[in-house]
């Protein structure tokens, strides 16, 4: 259900942004570090450092609504909207994925033209352990790349 190109971008290395909201529709932003797409191409797991996960889970357990924005350093961007499924602590395999994710994220930032003095601390500075794996089911996919067509529903 998630189109091929969107899947590629999501697997990364992309900058990942989680959007949730509380019962009063007050929104919250949380950066995620790494994502895994399950075989059904609809279920997605993202990783959030434990100190930052608490508020996300508070919103998600209350209402389940989640948005995941992700963009390449080149500004190509997409957004998934869906519903919360489950969460669990990180395991070793997740941590290995996050290590790899951070390294490729830096390479892509450099490639997109970020100076090294910014690319390195920006990407390698994301804390990732201890962390929580948050799984949700995507219901809609949107194009978010700035310019004409931004906001188009892709599937």
């Amino acid at each position: 259900m998630i189109p091929d190109r969107v899947l590629e971008v999501l697997r990364g290395p992309a900058f990942l942004q989680i959007g949730t909201r509380d019962g009063a529709l007050r929104p919250t932003h949380t950066a995620a570090v790494g994502a895994v797409v399950h075989d059904d191409r609809q279920t997605v797991t993202v990783f959030v450092p434990t100190p930052r996960a608490e508020r996300v889970l508070r919103d998600l357990t209350a209402n389940g609504r989640i948005a995941l924005g992700f963009s390449l350093a080149s500004h190509e961007a997409y957004q998934l909207k869906g519903r919360y499924v489950s969460s669990r602590p990180l395991d070793d395999a997740d941590r290995a994925r996050q290590e790899a994710y951070r390294a490729t994220l830096m390479a892509s930032a450099l490639e997109a033209g970020y100076p090294e003095a910014i690319a390195r601390p920006l990407t390698l500075g994301f804390a990732y352990t201890p962390g929580v794996a948050i799984t949700f089911r995507a219901e809609e996919v949107f194009l978010q790349t700035p310019g004409p067509g931004a906001g188009t529903l892709l599937s």
Binding site: Q17, G19, L25, G69, A77, P121, G125, P146, A150
Partner: protein
Amino acid sequence: MGILPDEIKPAMQGVIPSHVVTCARDGTPNASAISQVYYVDPDHVALSHQFFNKTKRNIEENPRAAVWVINPETFETWDLELEFVRSETKGPVFDVMEMQIEAIASMVGMKGIFKLRAADIFRVTAVTKTVGERLPLAEIPGLR
């Protein structure tokens, strides 16, 4: 004395993109990257409005926004809670933003094509330096 500390100013120069989360009236959140959050005064920031998008529509329905900015010198990140105040199409804040956008647009052959439509002014209701999101600079490999 406003709510925004001076040390947040470098995070509002657009060196590294920021992010904004809004929420539609039906409760659907929206997460989007923005190129710059503009510092207006110690209690206000502005977002540039160039294209009509989901963020803009959500703000019209529900005036709250969460914004994440990063300081490109210390790499500390901040969470801001915002409340929409008004949309300006003239005045000093609009002028400053518009001049910058026009200067850059003229450099990439987009003068007159890529223009600021409005400066959306928000009141900052809460600001916090994030805890547990960033590693101390000393722990980042390869930094001097």
